[in-house]
Symmetry: C2
Subunit: 338 residues, 2 copies
């Protein structure tokens, strides 16, 4: 095999939005698997807002990507060579494969993917980490009850669109916050949200008052910033704020903005709780079965925003996340190497 | 009876620290109790940081004090006239009596005070709302476990000094944050805190690292602002942040400062929860019995910072809270009217 492994490595820690000089494109011969290893040809790259956080220095829930290291990313691909007893050539697998064409694995933290259950990209979206994040964040941390109002920010994004639909399935009033009329129409007309608020209209306060007249019982936050502050103003008694992300702050060049209205937690005896999907590995099976069941029954729709391209396109496609250009799960599907 | 009722009424909503023109001093004939009512001569006024919040306009957990209304305050006094079957002349009672010499009551939300159990001021402190706030906030919201590290800000204040002692009683490592060496010495030497940090030294980050080497499991916050942000940086996995108050922000002339490091809640899978003591009325009896027991056994010390004076001194004494001049519970003991 003379396969060439193309990679994007982190060249510098970005200030603000990542720019070309923060990345280094490298091509080198693909490594061969040793005994107990196999090689995966990556076919789909998962593009997630959290990746921006992994590029920063400092203490977080995982170590930062080191300068000169291959950028960390979830991916899905096919086993092309195997010297591992449990993984056979041709099988689809997913895992943290990095932004590269080929990866060598010993099978740890790699999941076999059943593409008869759903097309491959769905396994990076509603039936992958994205869906699991929405599932555990909303149900375990948010604990919504039927009839309660659940507000989701970043609602047209990968996690938000699933979280809002689970809220609707559980008998809640699901209100999404998203950017632009097209996304908002999609939330209400296609995904069955009870209401959608276009934050770009610039009247979030009044819109929240209108669409959450009895207050917000659960707020599933993907964006932080001014949106979080406005929702805090409308919390219902005993509300739960679920901190899933803060995409509005990930590229901030100055200190991130904290929620100035956090004392509403006291006024309304409410809580704000952070979580990480990785703490729920023991229950992934249960959750995926549930998500797949809802999907099969037509109750849960997944949308993958699949961009076809070459690995070289990664830096540019990645930025779509922060420009709000994706609807649903952003995925880079790699063309066959030419 | 020709008793004169002196009162402080709210004249204007303060910007920043309350100033003279925000208050109006009024003297008028004391009202007589009707059938089913009694009259209380207020002897002790409880001075609490929360009172500053009650002076602001806007939605909160209680309506604001109206312009022209008697300033709201807890107090303790003696029944001087009674046409109520359950309250006799001479009994000590506590309740929300307002900043005034005399109050007419129908007995609702008024508690009989047993001054044989402890001196009167203690019933406004460790055995009053103050102690109850510390008790429920720490134990019910913070849920500390033996061996865990509990950090309390405003630790030399009324609530903080009790919260830290309860943490110590429960087998936790109690670390107090307070202003100045005298308060810090008092916390460690008199109250048995394991450590005290003088935030005025200006090295809170390093001091927290030293005194909470394994991270902060429970943070009982009375101050907000930069202190909250620094403690968020040191949270332990699964930490609970209890939002009791934010005295550093109560007199802010601009928008209050939100905790910029709130995403540490995600990194450490931690929660930040507000509470109000008034939600626990059903359990006041249990808590007071427990607090009184600890006090009797010498495990819980209470300190009342009792200022003797006239009602006219109220505005000036009240400001001591915000200058950090009190240690323990600040109380204005009213001299007999001259």
């Amino acid at each position: 095999m003379n396969a060439v492994n193309a990679q994007w490595r982190l060249a510098a820690r970005p200030l603000g939005l990542p720019k070309d000089s923060d990345w280094e494109y490298v091509e080198e011969p693909a490594a061969e698997p040793a005994d107990g290893q196999f090689r995966v040809a990556v076919e789909y790259l998962s593009l997630d807002p959290a990746m921006r956080g992994w590029m920063n220095e400092g203490r977080s829930y995982v170590p930062p990507v080191g300068i000169g290291e291959v950028m960390r990313a979830f991916g899905l691909g096919r086993v092309t060579e195997s010297r591992h007893p449990d993984f056979s050539v041709g099988e689809h697998v997913s895992g943290v494969f990095g932004v590269q064409r080929y990866v060598i694995s010993d099978g740890r933290n790699v999941n076999r993917v059943d593409t008869s259950l759903a097309p491959a990209p769905v396994h990076l979206g509603a039936l992958g980490m994205t869906g699991l994040t929405a599932y555990f964040g909303l149900l375990d941390v948010g604990r919504p009850e039927p009839g309660q109002t659940v507000v989701v920010s970043g609602a047209a994004g990968a996690v938000g669109s699933v979280a809002g639909q689970i809220a609707r399935i559980k008998g809640c009033r699901a209100v999404g916050i998203a950017g632009g009329p097209a996304k908002c129409a999609w939330l209400v007309e296609e995904l069955g949200f009870d209401a959608a608020i276009d934050y770009k209209r610039g009247d979030l306060r009044a819109d929240l008052r209108r669409h959450a007249p009895d207050g917000v019982d659960v707020y599933f936050d993907n964006v932080g910033g001014g949106t979080l502050d406005e929702v805090l103003r409308r919390l219902a008694r005993g509300a739960r704020v679920v901190i899933c992300g803060a995409i509005s702050q990930y590229n901030a060049r100055e200190a991130p903005r904290g929620p100035a209205n956090y004392m509403q937690l006291l006024v309304e005896r409410a809580s704000m709780t952070g979580f990480l999907v990785f703490d729920y590995t023991d229950r992934y099976g249960e959750a995926i079965a549930q998500l797949a069941g809802w999907r099969r029954a037509g109750e849960l729709r997944s949308r993958e925003d699949v961009v076809r391209g070459d690995l070289e396109d990664f830096p540019e496609v990645f930025l779509r996340l922060f420009r709000g250009e994706n609807t649903g799960k952003l995925i880079l599907q790699l063309d066959e190497p030419s």
